[in-house]
């Protein structure tokens, strides 16, 4: 490999242009033919359908050519700033995924690359290859034909909290909890996915508060402390999202669909009561506390508002403990898992049976469901519909419910 060799050693005599061109050509040829020993070519997979798109890039469903029964999800790594080398966000995501090995966290199988050719200016594209999950929660919830029993809801929420408990005890914040990032396999195992915004967290260093960015988490699932500009946050940000997702299991659409940070805060106050130092000590020290308009005099009515949907008193109580304004008082994953909701009848029950029925009956209903979804979009601002994949490209005649 000559292209890297000796680059940091001092330049010798300036080489004539012709020589340089030859070198460039040689280098290109070399790159084209170079076989990386540990990084397999993306061509070993065959793309079946695009199943997701968002700021993070594109996600495809694919299958291994050698073993067509083996399906995977491939997430393209965006190389937006190639001058800076390997993107730091991707680096973080990979590192976090390699650290996390748990049933309720999506597992990274490998990373593969496309070959360097003149068509991509000799820069490979990398794909993260994940195990394939058939559903995501947003998709399941938007399908009116999918009905969850209370036991099944408990099973889903319990698995989600298990996943959160695991990542938090590994000192990782997910920072993008939303129904679309909660995947469910056809056997009923829930997996937290999309660690593109995740990061490691620590207790304060040298008494200095952390300064993480607060521009994380999809607006509808964003907790009040982030909306108020907190930069020293922790695991409670994910638990707020978990609460929103849990409520969504019954309401079927995101419970607070603000158009702006300001409106989101208003919606939160209308549900959880006004934000004030009485219910949330030290809230006045947050950057935006005085800058944003906070609704005053609102009473907390989480239970009242959600009771018509949830009906299960235990479930209402757990929601009431998760959707707490003050992050310090919000339940953590451990106490949520110990809540009576999961330990009273009906107990959490297996999802595979229900899901196996669903995949079959969903073939024909796929199109009508989309239509329904579209009509009901009056409820949700169309412009900010969370990035659910729209697998419009009907591949090989089977419509699996993949988002």
């Amino acid at each position: 490999m000559t292209n890297l060799n000796g680059v940091l050693t001092p330049p010798s005599t300036p080489s004539p242009n012709l020589l340089q061109m030859n070198m460039a050509r040689e280098r290109e040829k070399y790159l084209e033919e170079y076989n990386f020993p540990f990084c397999e070519a993306a061509t070993k997979f065959e793309k079946l359908a695009k199943i997701g798109q968002g700021t993070f890039g594109e996600v495809f469903k694919a299958r291994e050519k050698k073993n067509p029964k083996f399906t995977v999800a491939m997430k393209k790594i965006l190389m937006e700033n190639e001058k800076e080398g390997f993107p730091i966000t991707a680096l973080r995501e990979i590192r976090i995924l390699q650290l996390l090995k748990h049933d309720n966290v999506v597992s990274l199988l490998e990373i593969c690359q496309t070959r360097a050719t003149q068509f991509n200016r000799y820069r490979s594209t990398f794909y993260l290859v994940f195990e394939f999950c058939e559903h995501d929660l947003a998709g399941l919830l938007s399908n009116t034909k999918v009905k969850f029993s209370i036991g099944e809801i408990k099973q889903i929420i319990q698995q989600m909290l298990n996943g959160l408990y695991y990542i938090h005890s590994n000192k990782i914040l997910h920072r993008d909890m939303k129904a679309a990032n909660v995947l469910i396999t056809k056997t009923g195992t829930l997996k937290l996915a999309d660690f593109g915004l995740a990061r490691a967290f620590s207790a304060q260093k040298n008494g200095q508060p952390n300064r993480y960015t607060n521009r994380v988490v999809t607006l509808w699932y964003r907790p009040p402390e982030l909306l108020l500009g907190d930069r020293n946050y922790g695991p409670p940000v994910d638990l707020w999202g978990a609460g929103c997702i849990m409520a969504e299991m019954w309401t079927r659409s995101p419970i607070m669909q603000g158009n702006s940070e300001q409106q989101q805060l208003t919606l939160i106050s209308q549900l959880c009561g006004s934000i004030s130092p009485e219910v949330w000590p030290k809230v006045e020290s947050l950057d935006l506390y005085n800058q944003l308009e906070l609704v005053k005099g609102q009473k907390r009515k989480v239970k009242e508002r959600l009771k018509p949907y949830v009906r299960d008193p235990m479930g209402c109580d757990l929601l009431d403990k998760l959707l707490v304004l003050d992050p310090a008082k919000r339940f953590d994953a451990d106490s949520a898992l110990n809540h009576d909701f999961f330990w009273t009848d009906p107990m959490p029950c297996d999802l595979s049976k229900m899901l196996s029925q669903q995949t079959q009956s969903n073939f024909e209903y796929l199109a009508p469901r989309r239509l329904n979804n579209h009509q009901s979009s009056a409820m949700r601002p169309a412009s900010t519909v969370p990035s659910q994949g729209t697998s419009t490209s009907a591949t090989s005649g089977f419509h699996e419910r993949v988002f």
Partner: protein, 286 residues
């Protein structure tokens, strides 16, 4: 880890030298990282006993992986990186050369790229421009700063390329269980025991910390468990300074077994031998 970093910066350098003179026995273990980054600490060590500084390494005349890791340490300290970041860079470097022939790539390009990669991984991103200036100046100590011209862009390109290559060779695995975490815990546990009887405790632990960093110069660091390495560094320092065994009575129980259960005497000696072997590399290069 990051918490302690500023304090530790001084450990690797200046003070160890003066303590060294107090050491009567076990002169054998020379501190490799001696000649790193002299200017900053010079003022504070001026009032102390002066010992001739080791000459600056001329990186271009001897090339070996051992010297390249020294280069990583020198550049890393000049860039003001946390120790854990520099150590990660050294780890990526060794991982890379575990799979690749030593002569296939330019050592220093790879070394610079590992620093860049480590700085990203440890959330301490350095600007490529700074990295290039520091690396270039370390290699060519008398040269004028690099102009923003073709050479600069070539350097930049090659570091970015090398980084991509490293990522693929190390199979995107940038995780490593550094002994530092354990080391700090052990030291915190041991300090009260040492402190009450001797004033020497800090010297011992600083020396142990030096050993730890020197061990990063060797790819043997992969062969042992992080906990074992941490203990071995402390034990070696205790041996060097000859702490009397009123404090540590090896007859009763090996002190380290209270901290690490799965460490027996033979393993410990193996690790210590591994650490000491690192210093043989230095002899061959000087």
């Amino acid at each position: 880890m990051g918490k302690k970093a500023p304090k530790m910066k001084s450990i690797t350098k200046s003070k160890t030298k003066t303590h060294k003179q107090k050491v009567k026995s076990h002169k054998k273990n020379k501190n490799i990282s001696k000649q790193k980054y002299r200017t900053k600490q010079r003022s504070e060590s001026q009032d102390k006993l002066k010992k001739p500084e080791a000459p600056l390494t001329d990186y271009l005349t001897h090339k070996s992986n051992y010297i390249a890791v020294r280069f990583i340490f020198e550049c890393g300290i000049k860039l003001g990186l946390k120790h854990i970041t520099i150590c990660s860079a050294a780890v990526y470097f060794h991982k890379f050369y575990k799979h690749v022939d030593e002569t296939a790539y330019d050592n220093y390009s790879i070394a610079s790229a590992t620093l860049y990669l480590a700085s990203k991984v440890q959330d301490e991103t350095i600007r490529l421009r700074d990295l290039i200036n520091v690396c270039y100046h370390t290699l060519h100590r008398d040269a004028a700063p690099l102009r923003l011209a073709e050479d600069y862009w070539n350097f930049r390109d090659s570091i970015v390329h090398a980084e991509m290559l490293i990522m693929r060779i190390v199979q995107f695995d940038t995780t490593f269980d550094h002994p530092h975490h354990y080391f700090l815990h052990y030291v915190q546990t041991l300090r009260p025991v040492f402190y009450s009887k001797h004033g020497k405790d800090i010297i011992v632990f600083k020396k142990a910390y030096d050993f730890l960093h020197d061990f990063y110069h060797s790819s043997d660091i992969f062969q042992f468990k992080a906990q074992h390495i941490a203990i071995a560094c402390i034990e070696l320092a205790i041996k060097v300074y000859g702490i009397p065994f009123q404090i540590i009575d090896y007859e009763i129980k090996f002190w380290y077994q209270a901290l690490v259960e799965d460490l027996d005497k033979d393993t410990l000696w193996n690790v210590m031998a591994g650490i000491m072997d690192t210093y043989d590399f230095e002899l061959t290069t000087n």
